[in-house]
Amino acid sequence: MQLVFILEQVLNGLLIGVQYLLIALGLSLIFSLGGIVNLAHGAFYAIGAYLTVVLTPTIGFGGALVASPLLVAILGLVIERFLLRRFYRGDPTLGLLLTFGLAMVAEQALRMAFGAAPLPYGIPTWLRGQVFIGDLIYSRYRLSILVVALACVGGLWLLLTRTSFGRVVRAGVQNPDMVAALGISLRPYMTAVVTLAVGLAALAGTMMAPVTGVQPAMGAEILTFAFVVVVIGGLGSFWGVVLAALIVGVVRGLTAYAYPPATEAAVYALMVLVLLLRPRGLFGEQIARFE
């Protein structure tokens, strides 16, 4: 096998990994700050994709790339304000049931509104075509979304590490009681985190709409892998999740290339291996209240 093909396959894996990453980062943030395992996170990815298809005829793909994540983020804000908020630090089973229910409602609502068949949608003409670098041929669209996604991840990292907002969020993950003792209410931060996380999931949906089937179950399909990424990366660790997403993407891609039937199994084998060697995940931190 030529080196250039391996390189391309690594690129393919990275692209998939980056989509997992946009979803997994949100999942990880919501869980580590609010204690809620958000099973509805995949639904926001699907809603983002559907909204993109609906909005494109009027505002174009460029417009939808901005508008769709924003609108879904507002939906996330409403859901946080009226539903999720009631379940922070409560019995985790209740939050699990709530978000599981939300995920089913969302999937069925999409099915009722748009039908079960995939909606026709393709890459906008201005992003079609291939990029040639020597022997390497790559889809221009995939390179573009790789750049956008990496920019978002970079932005999120800056937000979490270089701003006062980020400091409070990180403190809230480690010790919410201490944050409260300092007179800071975590509520508005939680609202902001959920809104941001939901927006990122919708952005992933928007970017994948042209290259994957826009159909009601798309959210459930990607959610499982996003969870695997969070588990492998380790709770509360930004770079752990980033690294895990990229590893999972590349492992999936390379296995699909070398031996397709083992594609899914390879990801779970990787998870088992990581959990055996590092039970808290790659860079998982010790968070007192989850131990």
């Binding site: 396959q9 019995d91 068949a117 026709p120 041929i137 995939r142 290259v211 009601p216 179950a217 891609g253």
Partner: protein
């Protein structure tokens, strides 16, 4: 936390939720409590979620339309037809639901399915309970051969018929003889069977296989395989995928702009519609499409469009046709008894199946003998609406030929029904 938990388990709440649990099933199944004998129930099972879900939706919509039409024209011997439609999910669930429909709901027959493995599971229940099952979407040759059952009939074409229908069009286009083919195949019963039939066709028509991959049905990213295609440089890509896999493949194939012609031996138009104009490409077989030129096809398309605001696709045709065949047979026989219908169909009863020629079931393997079509994608600039995105051949077999020329012979796919 503990407080909240304590609250939620108070006696009052417990009573409330217990009461709700008792009432819920009553509300959910009112049909059971009324009119047991003056309706004829037909059980409909097909996958409505998962990668075949998009096709299942067309199946259910078409079956409902057929029932409305049957009831509007007087029902079956004056009795109304009631459709019990459920998601068959997977072979285990399909089997359990089929059994429940027969034993508890007393359905007169079972109709539906797309997944070959689930169809096999239902056919086992049908045989055991001696209830007619009409398969409307499962293609594997094995269901008509080694796994054939006396109580199972097939409106859907077998894989060999699909391969030979598309194969004719491909040979005409000069894409087969002496060419190198790369085959991508869905990794489950249907795909394995289709690949087997495809290989026989290639061998018989002087084509060689340059590469092949089995692709898990849950895989949504095809980039690794597109890369392999580029390395393999085949003369033709054969895509024997299934359900939403086809949509994903078409979108990504056109994204990477590979130059090789594409064709496939298994197909459903809803998946081409899902890929969209410009992404859909290649030549494919279909058992039916919405542009078929016959009076009953036009009537079906108009009724479906009026009800669902979109044209029906081939899976919808299968379930609509099966329901009509059941109703017509029961009316002709003035009986709903499965064994009588089986004998009636085996005697060669003919049916208007929304095509040019009438169809009939072969007595020895229960396959519906019928015309098929091969469709080829239109270039994006010639597409005027999201549905008319292909051109079709005339009926295959052609007007002068026997309807049986595309199907397997007894020697190729033997079936015996134990007495």
């Amino acid at each position: 936390m503990t407080d909240r938990f304590g609250d939620s388990l108070s006696r009052r709440n417990l009573l409330r939720s217990g009461g709700a649990a008792l009432i819920a099933p009553v509300l959910a199944s009112p049909a059971l409590s009324q009119g047991q004998s003056d309706v004829i129930r037909i059980g409909h099972l097909t996958p409505r979620t998962g990668f075949l879900g998009p096709l299942g939706e067309f199946a259910v919509q078409a079956a409902q339309l057929a029932v409305e039409e049957i009831n509007a024209s007087g029902g079956i011997s004056g009795r109304k037809v009631e459709l019990l439609a459920e998601d068959s999910v997977n072979p285990q669930t399909a089997s359990a639901k089929a059994e429940r429909m027969v034993q508890r709901d007393r359905v007169a027959c079972l109709v539906g399915e797309i997944n070959s493995a689930s169809a096999l599971a239902i056919s086992q229940v049908a045989l055991r309970e001696k209830v007619l099952f009409i398969n409307t979407g499962a293609n594997s040759d094995a269901l008509r051969g080694a796994d054939c059952k006396r109580f199972m009939f097939h409106v859907e074409a077998q894989n060999t018929m699909m391969v030979r229908a598309a194969g004719r069009a491909l040979v005409d286009k000069g894409l087969i003889k002496g060419k190198k083919v790369y085959a991508l195949t869905a990794d489950y019963a249907f795909g394995h069977d289709l690949l087997k039939q495809a290989k026989k066709f290639f061998a018989a028509n002087d084509a060689t296989i340059a590469g092949e991959d089995l692709i898990p049905t849950e895989l949504t990213d095809f980039s690794p395989f597109l890369l392999k295609l580029r390395q393999g440089r085949p003369d033709l890509v054969i895509c024997n995928l299934s359900g939403t896999q086809i949509t994903n493949f078409l979108k990504q194939y056109s994204e990477f702009g590979l130059p090789y012609p594409v064709a496939g031996f298994g197909f459903d138009t809803a998946l081409a519609w899902g890929a969209g104009p410009g992404n859909f490409l290649g030549t494919w077989p279909v058992i039916w499409h919405h542009q078929v030129d016959s009076p009953s096809a036009k009537k079906f398309v108009a009724a479906f469009r009026a009800k669902y605001k979109k044209p029906p696709e081939n899976q919808g045709w299968g379930d609509y046709t099966a329901m009509k065949i059941v109703a017509q047979s029961m009316n002709d026989l003035k009986s709903t008894e499965s064994i009588k219908i089986v004998e009636h169909l085996e005697k060669g009863a003919t049916f208007d199946i929304a095509k040019t020629r009438e169809g009939y079931f072969r007595p020895w393997d229960h396959e519906l003998m019928q015309e098929m079509y091969a469709i080829t994608a239109l270039p994006a600039e010639q597409v005027k609406n999201p549905y008319d995105i292909f051109t079709a051949t005339g009926p295959l077999p052609g007007p002068g030929e026997s309807l049986e020329v595309l199907a397997t012979t007894r020697d190729e796919n033997a079936c015996t029904f134990p007495a």
